[in-house]
Each structure stands twice: as structure tokens, then as C-alpha cells.
């Protein structure tokens, strides 16, 4: 029998505010000494009163809007009670009945790129059930009979995003999570870094006979610390469960953990005990009314997102899907690319310019940034400015310099920040396009290499390259290659006896 997988994802994203959700402790806990970002509020001391961090609410609204969610005009906070030492209050302040964001969707391009790039992608729409704001918990380290608790993370704003069970493959889950990560990074509201726990994902998954509309037995997978781990764990589970079902077996309702070293899922908890969270409205926090003005002001802060940019680059500039995906991977790069295009002096030939800029960014710019250990999102802090790349491209296009010289100039702009035109002038790098000068050099080379000239005349095309090289060498690489090619052909033909 053919089976179909049904996947829903629950993702927690730490919002990158400076201070915590309900107190003024620093929320930037990464690398901090344990229990140094704490106060009576985030330690749950009796009598301490929480106050809502407005920026965290705005960040959550931005994500909600980017996910095409409706934004609640009225919402309040609730206490989710449970006993666990990572929560010093004995409850987590969360949202239950009225999530801040609800009923949204996201479109993602699904590609199986495990065996190389695929230009074609399937565009899928995944519905978002809700996204609500809550507080993160402290961190536990288990050692023997004790657990060590650090409350630096306690109270860091956390956004929980829940999809409808719309996901149908491991690749789709991967595409959804990458898109979500990219969105929060574009919005500047979170690093989305899974290795650092800034984005945590718990898929739930079940199999059912293809075409059936009931759900099978659901398992939950935890302990996934990278996008790849999410994809691998889901792929592994689909295979494992299909095997069991085909053999006539039954799936147990369990919570699984992903064992990265053994590349398999292992049972963490046998049976999900029915939780009794006893939600009730948080009496210490007033409800929130979200006005039209506030909502519109937040909406205005949302930039054009990656997928929309990819579509536009392909439509307006005729770029390939590959180029569009590469250029939009980081918002800073996409912005840089667009700024370079804005400075083009030939707006009528934008597609050609866009292709040239795309090539330069993906080859020379990325190469130099890699060599100098500059992360791609720091592109605005390097010395080359977008206008300078455009200037360089125009110098090549006008025939002032050739491509090889342009690469050297670009490297120099990267190091010094000087304008390409100034570098070309100061160093006398302008291409030699003066015909009498070039003809003299060509004739010298031809008379110095009679044997090679004869070989070219005999049809040995490879040797022509050698003679080209001699001319370039004599002009220190500055000769206009197209002109040299033409003059050299003429000179060789003329020497035919």
C-alpha cells in the first residue's frame, strides 16, 4: 500500500530584543555568565510585577504579517501552569485563547537539492494556524542526581508558530523552515540560528494510506538542532513507519528524539501524558488592544521578502532561479544588488546589467568576502560600494578595461575603497585599443615566432592562443583582446607565402 505523510510543525523563535519580554534584564544571554541577567521578575519572586516589552509585541506582529496572518485586535495573556525548574514561577506567561497572530499562510519553493541544484521548484502553500507570544524558560544542565539551572534565558521573548498539518514531505518541511528562518532574518527580529537555539522546531508526523482523509497515529520529534536534522529525522521516520505499516505493524504514539550521531530516532517518552496546564488570564498584565494606526505603522516596516524578490528578479531581469535564490539568501546582499542596479547609467539595459552584477557578486565579491572572513550579511560594511561595482562593469562594457584587468581592479577597490576609474587612471590600466600601437606589437610577435605562425597556418588552432598570449604579455595584459584577435589573424594570413 502507498502511504502519505502528514506533518505539522511547531516552531519557537527567540525574538532579538535588547531586553526581556516582561522585565528589563538583557535578553542577549548567549555566552553570558550563568544567572547574571536576572531580576525578581524573571526569577519568579513573589510580588514582582511583569511589564510588556512593546518591541517584542511589534516583532511578533511583523512575523505574523509576513506570514499573512490576521492580527488580533484584542488579546490577553494567560498563565500556563506546570512544574519544571526551568520555570521559576511554576507557570509560563503565554497566549492561549487569543493568539496575537492567526489564520495565515506562507508560500515556499520546494526543491530536492540533495543531488545538485534544481532550477525547477514546486511552490506550495502552508497554512499557519497561529503565532503567539510567550516567554522562554531557563536552561537546565543535568549532572548525576542534580540539575543545574541558569535563568539568563528565562523571560526572553519567544514566538511560537504552529502550522496546519499541510506539510507532505521532508523536503517541504525543510523548505518551510528555511523560508521561516529567512523571513525572521529579513525582518531583523531574530537570528533564526538553530544551532544556538534561537529557532527550535518540533515536527509532529503521522502516516495514512494515500487518499485517506483521517489521520494516523501521531509521533513528535524533538532535539533537532539544524535544518538538516529536521529533514533527516522526518525522512528517517517516514521510512521507518512505512516499513512497520507495510509489515502489518502498528505505530506507537510516542515522543522521539533525533540521535545525530547514530542518524536515527529514539524513543524519549512512551506515552504522552495528558497535560493539564490550567490556563487562566494573567491577572498581573492588562489586555492588549491593537489599534489600526499601530498595526499600519508596524506593517510599514516590513521589507519586500525573499520569495517576492526572487520572482521579481526573474520576471524583470530574466535572472535564473539559481541566481535569484543566491542573491536573496541574505537581505543585505539583495539590498546591495538592488542598490548597484539603481546606480546604473543605462536603465534601459537593466537585464544585461542585472546579469553582470549578479555574476560579479556571486564570483568575485563572494570569493573576496570568503577570503577575508566577512559574513555575507556584513556586505554593507566592506569598502566596495555598490556604485563602484557598477562603475567597474561600465568600464568593461565601454572597452576601457578588459575583464582580467577588471578583476584586479575589483580586488583593489575591495582593499582600498578607491573608485575603479581612479585606480585605472592612476595605474595606467586602461586597455590599449589604439590600432597602430597594437599592430606594431602584433607584427613584432609574428616575426619573432615564424615556426608558430606556420603551425597556425597548418590548422593548429591551439598555437593561436600562444601567440595571443605573447601579445598580451608584451602589453602587460592591457591589450584589447578582441582587437588583438582580429589584428593577429590578419597578420598571420598576410604572412602566408
Amino acid at each position: 500500500m502507498e502511504y502519505e505523510v502528514v506533518i505539522g510543525l511547531e516552531t519557537h523563535i527567540e525574538l532579538d530584543t535588547a531586553s526581556k519580554m516582561f522585565c528589563r534584564c538583557s535578553a542577549q544571554f548567549f555566552g553570558a555568565e550563568p544567572n547574571t541577567h536576572v531580576c525578581p521578575v524573571c526569577l519568579g519572586m513573589p510580588g514582582a510585577l511583569p511589564v510588556i516589552n512593546k518591541r517584542a509585541v511589534e516583532y511578533a506582529m511583523m512575523v505574523g504579517l509576513a506570514l499573512n496572518c490576521k492580527i488580533a485586535r484584542y488579546t490577553f495573556w494567560e498563565r500556563k501552569s506546570y512544574w519544571y525548574p526551568d520555570l521559576p514561577k511554576g507557570y509560563q506567561i503565554s497566549q492561549y485563547q487569543y493568539p496575537l497572530c492567526y489564520d495565515g499562510w506562507i508560500e515556499v519553493d520546494v526543491r530536492d537539492v540533495t543531488s545538485g541544484w534544481q532550477e525547477h521548484a514546486e511552490r506550495r502553500r502552508i497554512r499557519i494556524r497561529r503565532a503567539h507570544l510567550e516567554e522562554d524558560t531557563g536552561k537546565l544542565t543535568h549532572a548525576g542526581n542534580y540539575s543545574f539551572v541558569d535563568y539568563n534565558r528565562s523571560g526572553v521573548p519567544l514566538l511560537e508558530i504552529v502550522t496546519e498539518p499541510d506539510i507532505r514531505s521532508a523536503d517541504e518541511a525543510y523548505a518551510y523552515l528555511s523560508a521561516l528562518q529567512q523571513i525572521v532574518r529579513y525582518l531583523g527580529v531574530s537570528s533564526g540560528d538553530m544551532e544556538k537555539g534561537a529557532m527550535r522546531c518540533e515536527p509532529n508526523l503521522s502516516l495514512r494510506p494515500k487518499g485517506s482523509d483521517t489521520f494516523g497515529v501521531k509521533v513528535e520529534i524533538k532535539n533537532l538542532n539544524s535544518l538538516r536534522a529536521v529533514r533527516d529525522a522526518i525522512a528517517y521516520e517516514i521510512e521507518r513507519q512505512t516499513r512497520i505499516l507495510r509489515a502489518g505493524g502498528q505505530i506507537q504514539q510516542v515522543t522521539l528524539g533525533w540521535d545525530e550521531a547514530r542518524r536515527m530516532t529514539v524513543v524519549q517518552r512512551e506515552k504522552e501524558s495528558a497535560h493539564d496546564y490550567r490556563y487562566f488570564p494573567e491577572p498581573d498584565l492588562p489586555p492588549l488592544h491593537i489599534s489600526e494606526e499601530w498595526l499600519e505603522a508596524v506593517r510599514a516596516r516590513i521589507p519586500e521578502l525573499a520569495l517576492a524578490r526572487q520572482d521579481r528578479y526573474r520576471r524583470e531581469y530574466g535572472l535564473s532561479a539559481y541566481d535569484a535564490v543566491q542573491l536573496t539568501a541574505e537581505r543585505a546582499i539583495a539590498d546591495w544588488f538592488e542598490e548597484a542596479l539603481r546606480t546604473s547609467s543605462a536603465p534601459h539595459s537593466l537585464p544585461a546589467r542585472a546579469k553582470a552584477v549578479a555574476n560579479w557578486i556571486q564570483t568575485e565579491l563572494f570569493r573576496l568576502m570568503r577570503v577575508h572572513n566577512v559574513p555575507l550579511d556584513n556586505v554593507w560594511h566592506i569598502k566596495v560600494k555598490p556604485a563602484q561595482l557598477m562603475q567597474l562593469i561600465e568600464l568593461v562594457e565601454q572597452g576601457t578595461i578588459n575583464l582580467n584587468t577588471a578583476k584586479q581592479v575589483f580586488e583593489e577597490v575591495f582593499q582600498t575603497g578607491e573608485d575603479p576609474r581612479a585606480i585605472v587612471e592612476a595605474k595606467g590600466l586602461a586597455q590599449i585599443s589604439d590600432v597602430p600601437t597594437l599592430r606594431r606589437v602584433v607584427e613584432e610577435v609574428v616575426s619573432a615566432h615564424p615556426q608558430q605562425v606556420q603551425q597556425v597556418l597548418n590548422g593548429q588552432e591551439k598555437v593561436f592562443g600562444f601567440l595571443m598570449g605573447q601579445v598580451m604579455k608584451a602589453t602587460r595584459g592591457k591589450a584589447n583582446a578582441q582587437l588583438v584577435n582580429q589584428l593577429l589573424r590578419e597578420a598571420i594570413e598576410a604572412s602566408r607565402t
Binding site: R24, P85, V149
Partner: protein, 98 residues
């Protein structure tokens, strides 16, 4: 009247260990409290939005996201049941038990 199982469950949620006598006594007392509150269930609330607060305030927020120092670690750990000077130390716990 609450069943013994319900009383046991509620006691467990509150981390209370009850003797059989206490269980019986609290089942009685808690049932009276719940019955009293149940009178509210008879009110017709059709069309009335849920009330999250009775205070006339809403949307009170802190607009300034600048962090401020809280407690020093020494202060924070002063009430810890057990500590090594860096962490709160508690009996080993695994899984999020409700």
C-alpha cells in the same frame, strides 16, 4: 462531589501529599467551593466577550527596550536551595512533567 481520583489529581498538580483523611475532608470542602462557583455557569453570557481583567486599563507597555541591570548573581542565588555560586542546583529532573 469530586471523586477521589479528581482530588488526587488536583493534589498532585499542586504538589501536595494528602493523607486519606485529608483527601476525604478536602473532597467535601472543595466540592462545596466548586458548587458555589458553579452558580456562575447559569448566567447567560451569549454575546459577551470573555473578561480578562476587571481593571479599566489596557495596552500598558514599556516602549524603551534598553536593558537595565537586575540582581547581582550573589543576590539572585541568595535564596537558592542549593548553589555552587553559579547555578541554582535542584534535584535531577527529566522531561516536562505536568
Amino acid at each position: 462531589m469530586l471523586t477521589p481520583e479528581e482530588i488526587e489529581h488536583i493534589a498532585r498538580l499542586a504538589r501536595l501529599a494528602l493523607t486519606p483523611e485529608e483527601r476525604a475532608r478536602f473532597a467535601q470542602q472543595l466540592s462545596v467551593v466548586l458548587d458555589h462557583a458553579a452558580a456562575l455557569m447559569e448566567i447567560d453570557v451569549e454575546g459577551i466577550p470573555p473578561t480578562a481583567t476587571v481593571l479599566p486599563v489596557h495596552s500598558v507597555m514599556r516602549a524603551d527596550d534598553t536593558p537595565m541591570p537586575g540582581l547581582t548573581r550573589e543576590e539572585a542565588l541568595r535564596n537558592a536551595p542549593q548553589t555552587d555560586g553559579e547555578f541554582f542546583i535542584v534535584p535531577a529532573t527529566f522531561g516536562d512533567e505536568a
